[in-house]
Symmetry: C2
Subunit: 140 residues, 2 copies
DNA sequence: ATATGCTGTAACCGAGATGGTTGCTTCATA
DNA sequence: TATGAAGCAACCATCTCGGTTACAGCATAT
C-alpha cells in the first residue's frame, strides 16, 4: 500500500510553475519533460490544482501561474487538492462487522477515533510545510 | 486512495482473540463470522500477525492466542505487521524526474524529508495506542 | 487407525485504481 | 487563418485488493 505519486507530481508541477515563470512559458509539455511523464497526466493533475484554486491556466495561449503566494500554499493544501485522502478518510475499514458480536458491534466506535487521530497527525505535519520552504531548497 | 482495510481487520482479529479466549476456541471461522468476511482472508492476515510474533496459532487442533500482553501491542505494531506501509515508505514518488532540470534534479531531496516527517507523525500517533486501550472500550 | 476439524497455501476471479496514450475539440494569439 | 496549447473522452495494461475454491498437513477424539 502506497499513497499515489499524484502528490509528488503535483508538488513538482507547482515548483516548476514558480521557478520558471520568468524564463519559459510553463506548458504541460514543458512540465512533463521535467517530471518525466506524459503531458496529459500533467494536465489531469493540473485540472485538480485548478479546481482547488491553486493555479490558473491560460486557455488558448498556454502557460500557467500560481493564484496564491508560495508561502500560503502548504503541502496539505496540495495533498487535498489531488484527492490524496479519499473522502477525508485515509484509513479503510472492513464493511460488515457482525453487529451480533460484541467486538463487531464496537470496533468501529473504538477504532475510528484513533484512525482519525493518526490522519490528523499526518495532516498537521504536512500543513507545517509551504511551497516557499521547498523553493528555498530547490537549487537552480 | 485509501489505506487497506487489512489494518482494521487485523485489529479486529486481535481483539477477538483476546476477548473470547476463555469462552470459545477462536478459529479463523469464528473470527470471520465477527469480521464479516471469508475465513481464508482471516488466515492470510493471521499469517502476517504470526510472522510478526504477535500471535500463535495451534496447527491441527485450532485456536489462537496472543504472544504479547495487550498493553504491549501498539497500533503501529499491528500496522507494520500487515505491511500497511510498503517498504516503510507511505508516500509514492514519480519514478523519473528529469536530472537535467533544476527542479527535477532536486525534488527528491527536497520532498523526501517532509514525506518522511508526515509518515513519522502518523506512526507516532499509532504508537501511542495499545490493544489494551481498545479492549477497555470494547463493551461486551 | 481413522475420522474430524482446523490451519496453511496455492490458484484463481472480478472489481477498482493507477499511470499511460491517442485523438479530438476549444480557444487565444501571432 | 494557422498555430500551439489546454481540456476532455475513450481506451489500455498493470496492480492491488478482497474474495473464493480447493487441497495438503496436522493434532486430537473416537
Amino acid at each position: 500500500m502506497q499513497i499515489s505519486s499524484r502528490f509528488s507530481v503535483a508538488v513538482h508541477i507547482l515548483l516548476c510553475v514558480e521557478v520558471f515563470k520568468n524564463e519559459y512559458k510553463v506548458t504541460s509539455d514543458f512540465i512533463a519533460g521535467s517530471v518525466g511523464t506524459n503531458p496529459v497526466i500533467i494536465r489531469k493533475i493540473m485540472g485538480k490544482l485548478k479546481k482547488a484554486g491553486l493555479i490558473e491556466a491560460l486557455a488558448g495561449t498556454g502557460g500557467t501561474y500560481l493564484l496564491k503566494k508560495p508561502e500560503d500554499i502548504t503541502l496539505l493544501d496540495i495533498a487535498q487538492a489531488v484527492d490524496l485522502f479519499e473522502e477525508d478518510r485515509l484509513f479503510g475499514f472492513h464493511e460488515a462487522p457482525n453487529p451480533n458480536c460484541p467486538v463487531g458491534r464496537s470496533i468501529h466506535g473504538v477504532l475510528d477515533l484513533h484512525m482519525a487521530g493518526a490522519q490528523t497527525a499526518m495532516e498537521e505535519s504536512l500543513a507545517g510545510v509551504t511551497l516557499a520552504d521547498l523553493l528555498n531548497r530547490c537549487n537552480r
